[in-house]
C-alpha cells in the first residue's frame, strides 16, 4: 500500500466517521479524540523531535484555554481571533520558559518545566480576579467565526470537523518539517547535540523553535477545549493531563505522526470501553498500558513495522 492511497483513504474515513452513528455521545468521544490528538501531536514535537521531556505541557494547554475563556468573557472574542490569540499567548509563554530552560537538558529540563507548570497552576488558582480561581470559568461562549456575530458552533460534530481540520493541518506541518532541512536539524539536535553544533546547527534555536511551536499548538488545543466544554478550571493544568499526554505520545509511538493520533484514540476508546468495569477500570487500564510498553517498547506504530517486516537492527542478546 502506498502513501498515495492510504492517506486519502484515511482522510475520507475521518470525514465520514461522524455519520457512522447518530449517537451524539460517540460524537463527543470523537471530539475528545481529536482534541487529544492535537495535544499529543504538539507534545510529540517536544518528546519525539527535540527529544526532551516536558512536564509542563498541560500548563500551556491551560493558558490557551484560559486565554480563550477570558477573551470570550470580557471581549466577546470567541472566534478565530480568540484562537489565534490563545496560540500567541501560549507561544509567548513557551518562548519565555523555553528561552530560560532549554539551556538545560535531560531530567533537569523536565523538572524545570514541572516547576514552571506548577507556578502557572498556582497563579491560576490564586489570581481570582482574572481567572476566578479554583472554581474556574464556566459558560464560555461556543466557538464562532469572529465571535459575537451569531454564528456559533454548538454540535459535537461541528467541533469534530474544526479540530479534525487543525489536526490534519498540524500533522501535515509536522510531516513537512520532517522532510525539510529544519526537521533534519531537529533530529540531529536530538540525537547528538555537540555533533549537530559542529555541523553549524544552532542547537538552542532549534529547540526553542520546536518548543514554541509545540506550546502554541497546545494553546490552540486549549482554546478549542474551552469553547467546546464551555468550562475551564485549573485542573486542566494538573499532572493528570500531563501524564495522559505522555502516555498517548509514547504508547502510540514518539517521533511519528500517526503514533500520537493512535495513542489518543487508544486512550479515549480504552477508558470508555473499560467504563463498565467500574472500580477495576483504571487497574485494567494501567495493566494494559504497562503490558503495551513492555511488549511494544517502540509504541503501537512499531507493530506496523514489525508486521511489514521493515526491520530496525537493534542490539539483542547481551545479558
Amino acid at each position: 500500500m502506498s502513501r498515495k492511497i492510504t492517506i486519502p483513504v484515511i482522510l475520507l474515513a475521518a470525514l465520514a466517521l461522524p455519520f457512522m452513528t447518530a449517537n451524539t455521545y460517540f460524537h463527543h468521544l470523537m471530539v475528545l479524540w481529536m482534541l487529544f490528538s492535537l495535544l499529543a501531536l504538539s507534545l510529540n514535537v517536544i518528546i519525539g523531535y527535540i527529544g526532551e521531556l516536558s512536564f509542563g505541557h498541560a500548563a500551556f494547554f491551560g493558558i490557551g484555554a484560559y486565554t480563550a475563556a477570558i477573551l470570550g468573557m470580557h471581549f466577546g472574542l470567541a472566534g478565530i481571533p480568540g484562537i489565534l490569540l490563545a496560540a500567541i499567548v501560549a507561544g509567548l509563554f513557551g518562548f519565555v520558559i523555553g528561552y530560560v530552560s532549554l539551556r538545560i537538558v535531560g531530567p533537569q529540563f523536565a523538572i524545570l518545566t514541572l516547576g514552571f507548570g506548577s507556578i502557572i497552576y498556582t497563579i491560576t488558582n490564586y489570581w481570582v480576579d482574572l481567572t476566578r480561581g479554583p472554581m474556574g470559568i464556566s459558560n464560555i461562549q461556543p466557538l464562532g467565526l469572529w465571535g459575537g456575530d451569531g454564528i456559533a458552533l454548538t454540535s459535537a460534530i461541528g467541533y469534530y470537523y474544526v479540530i479534525l481540520g487543525c489536526v490534519v493541518a498540524f500533522a501535515y506541518a509536522c510531516h513537512a518539517l520532517m522532510s525539510s532541512r529544519t526537521g533534519r536539524a531537529f533530529i540531529a539536535t536530538r540525537e547528538n547535540a555537540p555533533l549537530a553544533a559542529s555541523l553549524g546547527i544552532d542547537v538552542f534555536r532549534m529547540k526553542l523553535l520546536g518548543f514554541v511551536v509545540a506550546t502554541a499548538v497546545a494553546g490552540v488545543g486549549g482554546a478549542l477545549y474551552a469553547h467546546y466544554l464551555t468550562v475551564v478550571t485549573p485542573d486542566v493544568m494538573s499532572m493528570q493531563y500531563v501524564a495522559a499526554l505522555i502516555i498517548m505520545v509514547i504508547v502510540g509511538g514518539r517521533g511519528t505522526i500517526s503514533g500520537p493520533i493512535i495513542g489518543a484514540l487508544i486512550y479515549v476508546a480504552l477508558l470508555e470501553a473499560l467504563r463498565a468495569l467500574g472500580p477495576l477500570r483504571l487497574v485494567i487500564f494501567a495493566a494494559l498500558l504497562t503490558a503495551s510498553v513492555i511488549f511494544l517498547p517502540g509504541g503501537i506504530v512499531s507493530l506496523w513495522r514489525r508486521i511489514t517486516g521493515a526491520d530496525t537492527p537493534h542490539q539483542e542478546g547481551a545479558q
Binding site: P313, H314, E316
Partner: protein, 235 residues
Amino acid sequence: MLEVSDIVVRYGRREVIHGLSLKVAEGDVVTLVGSNGAGKTTTLKTISGMLKPVSGSISFDGERIDKMDPHEIIAHGVVQIPEGRLLFPDMTVGEHLELGAVRARSGGRSYGERIDWIHEMFPILLERKEQKAGTLSGGQQQMLAIARGLMANPRCLMLDEPSLGLAPIMVDQLEDTIKSLNEAGMTILLVEQRVDLALRLASRGYVLETGSIALEEDAKVLLADPRVKTAYLGI
C-alpha cells in the same frame, strides 16, 4: 584452552557471524585479522558473554561458557578489554582498578601484588590515582582499560584494538606489555588493526572475512602471505 566451535551470532535478525570456529591453546598468542565489519569485535563479545550465540558452543578449559553471563565468564579467567575502553568517567583511576577485581579469578597474584605490578607497568596510573577517568587523555584511558582488565587476574586475555589512539611510543610499550604478559603465562587473543604488529606478536592468526574464517595459519606465514599483504598491510 579456549575453543569456539561453529558459532552463529545475530544482531536482531541480521546474522553477522556464520559458523565460526577457532581454538586458542594455553600460553599462545592468537590474533584475529579482518577488515572493518568482518565481525572481530562481535566474536570477542560473544566469547565474553556480552552476546549470546544462536547456535554453536564455546568452551574454556573443557567447560561450556556460552550460556554464562559475563561476570561468570570473567570469574573463570576469560577477560575482554573492550574496543573503545568503556571506562567510568566520574570514577577515579584507583576505583577502576578496584572494580576490575570484583570477579577476579582466585589463584595467581594476590590483589596487592597485581596493583603493584600494574603500577610498575603503567606508572602514570599511580600518579593519576585520584583523577577521574573522564578527564584522562585518550592514551591514558587505554592504559587504564588494560589495567582494569588485568585486575581480574585473567588466564585468557582478549584485547580488542588495544593500540587504538596510542602514540607510537605507547604502542611500543603496549607491544612489550603484551609480550611480557604472555611470557608470564597468560593466553592472549588479540584483535588489532595494526596487523603487522599483531602478526609480529602472535604465534597463530585467523583471517576473518564477513563473519567466517577465511584463513588459519602460522603468524609468520600470514605475515608473508601476499593476500594478507595487499588486503591488510597495504603493501
